[in-house]
């Protein structure tokens, strides 16, 4: 069998997507890492800047103090060395001049000279509030109340002859803060710029990522769109094909139906003529030839109806494997010496509901085609399998669900695409004139469709052809009714059985009545439903109602039968119809308990069917 094929685009898309996704995820992660690293570097840089700024401020503050102390120390030393003579010679005036000289430094608040005993000798105070201590303070440099105090000894040789005191203001903290604020501002701005750059870079990277993501999504969307387009095209092709087949089916069905009625009359009358032995041998020969032609014509219309899905089917539960085994002998005969047959039948095959005769026909038709495709011999292979069609694989007109698959393959010449597309159409044939009817594959197609399945052809020129039939699985307990014993009932009718034949076409009715009488039955007739009910009322001995399904005048065959049985429950009914799309046939299947004789029927078929019904236990 050939597994249901998925669109290639889907496969490649499905195969490509995960790896691409993984790759994209890796790339995205790497990009995110880079972004994180960048942010960290920027943050660290900004922090470093701030720390450096703080360090600069701290260092500047420290060095400022050191410088101030050094400065004050130098000043006091200078004063101390210059004031030695003034101290030695007790010259307060001179000492005062020296001390006053320090006033040029605006930061010096107080400058004082003490003699060796520590008593104030000369002093300068910038404001009265900042008077120098009356006795000398401890020597050294220190900061007190935001002021720098330096006390240094006045030394002459190695002797201390007095003390110098200086009190100077450090630059006010507000001034220093102002100074440092400039540094702080610069540092903050630098850090801010760094952070802004990082943020901008980050944004850019993110935007790039988004773009990459969008591009990928776009590519994804494009891929799925292409896949959808391919699927859509396939579906449309399948739909077009189905519609074409439907149209052809309706056309052929209509023509075949009318033909059937004509053939019924021709065939019936010819058979009567034959049975009655009219004329001489020549005449009988001609009659028989006419009958053969009519039969062939009848076969033809039957197959047309089969394609049009208007043949009445009698579906029963079938084990397809069994049917194939039973048919293989017939197939072997058909295939001839040069073609071998090979079967691969799946175990545990589901059962299907199908008309076994038609399925046999279908297999036979496929075998004939395979044989004709392999003029030099080859192998015909029949496979069966269970298959589940899902929504994706059931392209075309097939419904998803469980199916039994029958695949018939040959190693023949194969078909081109064009041939393949037309192969199911009736009267389409590649065979020589007179060799093929062009109805084989169309029978297969019509039968399978009517049975709720679908058929498809896979073929390649020079390689071979595989026709795959999908029949829906029968949801039913196994072994319900494998065809009952087929004992042929005696042909002859019984005089005591009264049959009412209802048919609107006078010719057909006359023909039917003639056949039934020929069989030995007592026959009454009516042209429509109302007349039939009237006859039934007047003749309570009628046992079988033989009615056409399509009747004029308000009551169709089905309604007539229902009404008649309502009045006479034991009345038996045999429908006849040339047209399966009728009241008694639903979805191509006969309702249970309904007997139908398809038009055109043969004398033998009529005899057998009527006898079967009459003999059936009530």
């Amino acid at each position: 069998m050939t597994p249901p094929r998925e669109p290639l685009a889907d496969d490649s898309a499905a195969a490509a997507t995960p790896t691409e996704d993984r790759g994209a995820a890796r790339a995205a992660a790497a990009r995110a890492d880079r972004r994180g690293l960048l942010s960290a570097i920027a943050g660290a840089g900004a922090a470093l800047l701030v720390i450096a700024g703080a360090f600069v401020v701290f260092y500047s503050e420290q060095s400022y103090r050191t410088v101030k102390i050094q400065q004050a120390d130098a000043q006091t030393r200078i004063l101390a060395s210059t004031v030695t003579a003034a101290l030695a010679f007790d010259d307060r005036k001179a000492a005062q001049e020296y001390v006053n000289a320090l006033a040029v430094d605006p930061q010096v608040q107080v400058a004082a000279v003490y003699d060796a005993s520590g008593t104030l000798f000369a002093a300068y105070a910038r404001s009265p509030a900042t008077a120098p201590p009356s006795t000398v303070a401890a020597p050294g440099a220190r900061v007190e109340d935001g002021a720098l105090i330096v006390v240094a000894p006045v030394q002459q040789a190695s002797a201390t002859t007095g003390w110098v005191y200086e009190r100077s203001v450090l630059e006010p903290i507000s001034r220093r803060i102002e100074r440092y604020a400039v540094i702080g501002l610069l540092v903050s701005m630098a850090a801010l710029i760094l952070l802004l750059l990082a943020v901008a870079q980050n944004r850019l990277a993110r935007a790039n990522d988004t773009l990459a993501g969008q591009r990928q999504a776009l590519a994804e969307a494009n891929r799925s769109l292409l896949a959808q387009i391919a699927q859509r095209e396939q579906a449309e092709t399948a739909l077009r094909q189905a519609q074409k087949m439907e149209a052809i089916g309706q056309l052929t069905g209509g023509i075949a139906h009318d033909f059937n009625n004509f053939l019924q009359v021709i065939q019936g009358n010819l058979q009567l003529l034959e049975r009655r032995g009219v004329g001489g041998d020549d005449t009988q020969r001609m009659i028989r030839a006419a009958i053969r032609s009519a039969e062939r014509a009848s076969t033809l219309t039957r197959r047309l109806l089969a394609f049009a899905r208007r043949q009445p089917l009698n579906p029963v539960p079938i084990d397809v494997n069994k049917l194939i085994v039973a048919t293989s002998e017939l197939l072997r005969g058909t295939l001839g010496e040069k073609v071998t047959i090979e079967t691969a039948l799946a175990g545990g095959l589901w059962r299907v509901a199908a008309d076994p005769n038609q399925l046999e026909n279908a297999l036979l038709n496929l075998a004939v085609n395979a044989r004709d495709a392999m003029p030099d011999g080859g192998k015909l292979r029949i496979e069966t399998a269970n298959a589940h069609l899902d929504a994706a694989s059931s392209a075309g007109d097939a419904l998803p669900g469980p199916y039994v698959v029958i695949a018939v393959s040959d190693q023949g010449t194969g078909m081109t695409k064009e041939t393949r597309e037309q192969a199911f159409e009736p009267f389409f044939t590649t065979k020589d004139v007179g060799k093929g009817s062009g109805l084989g594959l169309s029978q297969v197609y019509g039968f399978i469709k009517q049975s709720g399945g679908y058929a498809k052809i896979d073929s390649e020129p020079g390689v071979g052809t595989t026709v795959t039939l999908y029949l829906p699985r029968l949801a039913e307990s196994p072994d319900a009714t494998p065809g009952a014993a087929d004992a042929r009932p005696p042909l002859r009718g019984r005089e005591d059985v009264v049959i009412l034949a209802v048919e609107d076409d006078a010719d057909v009715r006359a023909h039917s009545v003639a056949l039934l009488r020929e069989l030995g039955y007592a026959v009454l007739e009516a042209a429509d439903g109302a007349a039939a009910l009237d006859v039934l009322h007047r003749h309570p001995d009628v046992q079988l109602l033989f009615t056409d399904v399509g009747l004029p005048g308000g009551l169709n065959g089905r309604e007539l039968a229902d009404e008649a049985r309502r009045r006479r429950p034991r009345l038996r009914v045999l429908f006849t119809s040339g047209y399966a799309r009728d009241a008694i046939v639903h979805h191509g299947r006969l309702d249970p308990g309904v007997d139908l004789l398809a038009k055109p029927f043969t004398f033998e078929a009529l005899a057998a069917k009527v006898r079967e019904i009459v003999d059936r236990a009530p």
Partner: protein
């Protein structure tokens, strides 16, 4: 004549003591040429001429005055006719012909001559004590100092009063 006759009593005594101390204190602000000393640790010799009140106090003043440098100061008492040789500082408290002669002799030598209240126009030492505002000050004759090849510290010069100025 006595140019310091106006000062009498304890004030005068205190004034003499200050002058005696000043004689000691001058030394650190004076720089003698190396030739003025023999060995490097030779003390500065302060020679006091005559027997005026300052002369009597100089010995005591040495104790109350901080030692001047490494050398130290030693005091020599001279009479007016004694040789000035070996003196680094020569105090001539009493005016007179002998004093003038001594000053003349010392001129040009590396000796810091000190006089007490020598009036303007008279012979004076390189340093001349005067009293201003009831305080003992001094005048410095920088020319004479230069002649004597003595470097006088600017600190000391700053304290000096000008000739005739207060």
């Amino acid at each position: 004549m006595s140019w310091n006759a106006a000062a009498e009593g304890p004030v005068r005594a205190s004034e003499q003591a200050v002058k005696a101390a000043y004689l000691h204190k001058l030394a650190p602000f004076i720089e003698w040429p190396a030739a003025a000393f023999g060995p490097p640790d030779e003390p500065i010799t302060l020679c006091v001429v005559g027997a005026d009140p300052v002369s009597a106090l100089v010995d005591d003043a040495g104790g109350s005055v901080p030692r001047s440098g490494e050398r130290g100061v030693r005091v020599r008492h001279l009479s007016a006719n004694d040789s000035e040789a070996g003196c680094h500082i020569l105090y001539i408290g009493t005016p007179g012909a002998a004093a003038v002669a001594l000053l003349d002799r010392a001129r040009g030598k590396s000796i810091l001559t000190v006089t007490d209240a020598a009036p303007p126009g008279s012979r004076r030492g390189i340093v001349n004590f005067v009293v201003r505002d009831n305080r003992v000050r001094f005048e410095i004759d920088t020319d004479a100092a230069a002649q004597s090849r003595l470097a006088i510290s600017s600190k000391l010069l700053n304290l000096a009063v000008r000739d005739g100025a207060p």
